[in-house]
Symmetry: C2
Subunit: 226 residues, 2 copies
């Protein structure tokens, strides 16, 4: 009995992945590493970026800010003097709860890729849909605030499963919460045992240096994931 090798054109019908690959090609050509940064609303994505992007050494960083409406976060990052591009999902896309590859593509003309080494895409605050859409990123990072509880990896498994790095944030509030770090890590192990984890606090600075190191040492290029 013969085994026939069939080259399957995977995801041929998936427009999002097709566009994500096009984005990825553009990022690679420009030599830009791209991080898709995700979390629930108010978990601290912007506060952590404020902490790390002010000092990333020789790395030329930029931000693409995804929000349903407004530019509050982009305005917060403006003082860092890094290029920040605002992408609103409300007027053009009907109030989408996530960024997809095509939205990111629509923003590319506004992003000075040749001037960047690192682009952080701050996704819309949401633990469900952002995880479903690759946008051409090299790596995925998510922020899980300890105020959200230990059960989140089990309730939103796709989000936690598809991230290389999980930042367990607002750790300064630990004395005031009933949050059990070990239980959270145990739940995270159930859905993504290989993920890197850093305990962080944008307020006290705990873990910020490790996050910064992780960002600037992003491996040259991982296996293509999109």
């Amino acid at each position: 009995m013969h085994k026939t090798r069939v080259r399957v054109v995977e995801d041929a019908l998936d427009a999002n992945n097709t566009i994500a690959r096009a984005n990825r090609s553009d990022f690679d050509r420009a030599g830009v590493k791209v991080v898709n940064l995700m979390s629930a609303p108010g978990a601290g994505k912007t506060s952590l970026l404020e902490r790390v992007l002010g000092d990333v050494g020789d790395v030329r960083a930029g931000v693409l800010e995804g929000d349903v409406q407004g530019s509050l976060d982009a305005d917060r990052l403006a003082w860092l003097h890094v290029p920040v591009t605002q992408l609103n999902t409300d007027p053009g896309f009907g109030g989408e709860c996530h960024l997809d590859a095509n939205m990111v593509r629509s923003a590319l003309p506004e992003i000075p890729l040749p001037e960047l080494d690192l682009l952080v895409i701050e996704n819309v605050g949401n633990l469900v849909c952002p995880a479903e859409f690759r946008v051409g990123e090299d790596a995925r990072v998510m922020v899980s605030s300890i105020t959200e509880g230990e059960d989140k990896p089990l309730k939103y498994p796709l989000m936690f499963r598809t991230c290389e790095l999980v930042l367990i944030n607002k750790i300064d509030l630990l004395p005031h919460l009933d949050f059990d770090v070990e239980r959270f890590l145990c739940n995270l192990d159930k859905v993504n045992p290989d993920s890197r984890r850093i305990l962080t606090s944008a307020r006290t600075g705990e873990g910020v240096e490790q996050f910064r190191d992780w960002l600037v040492q992003l491996p040259a290029r991982e296996e293509a994931r999109v």
Copy 2:
């Protein structure tokens, strides 16, 4: 010049609203008041329900639990000895980030409506899409945890705009955060000045009694909203 009166069949093409009205008719027929309870992940919806549903006097309450996966919250509520029905958006609906009218309709056969006066529908944790879908509710309540920051009404205006009641939760953490209650209320006024607000803490019990009173005194029937 004549003015012609045209009776417009509103939302004729909006399947969700059509189904929401059907749900509403069923709820009305059974004499059940329905609350759509929404928030970001981990804001404290289930903890507040644990606090209030244990003691709602003569009111016969039930819960419809919406989650992407699992039954963690339904399990938490089981000890209250109220009917809890679990609705997962993952297997049947492709991991939806919200409940819509049709999902709720699909769960109706499992809900003992004739035995209830009040049904609380705990939506999927998300500040965007749940607000876009009426499910046949009488009223909308959202929980905004102070750990999420003061800017949330401005970043997720539709959610805050469409709720009758906003619970500002985890107020016990106020001494440990930089959260400015007045600034939050000012932002809320910008998008929904008419909303009722209650400061709550599921941990200390602050505001729980007011929330319970609001629930059990739900007006006989508001203007049809769906």
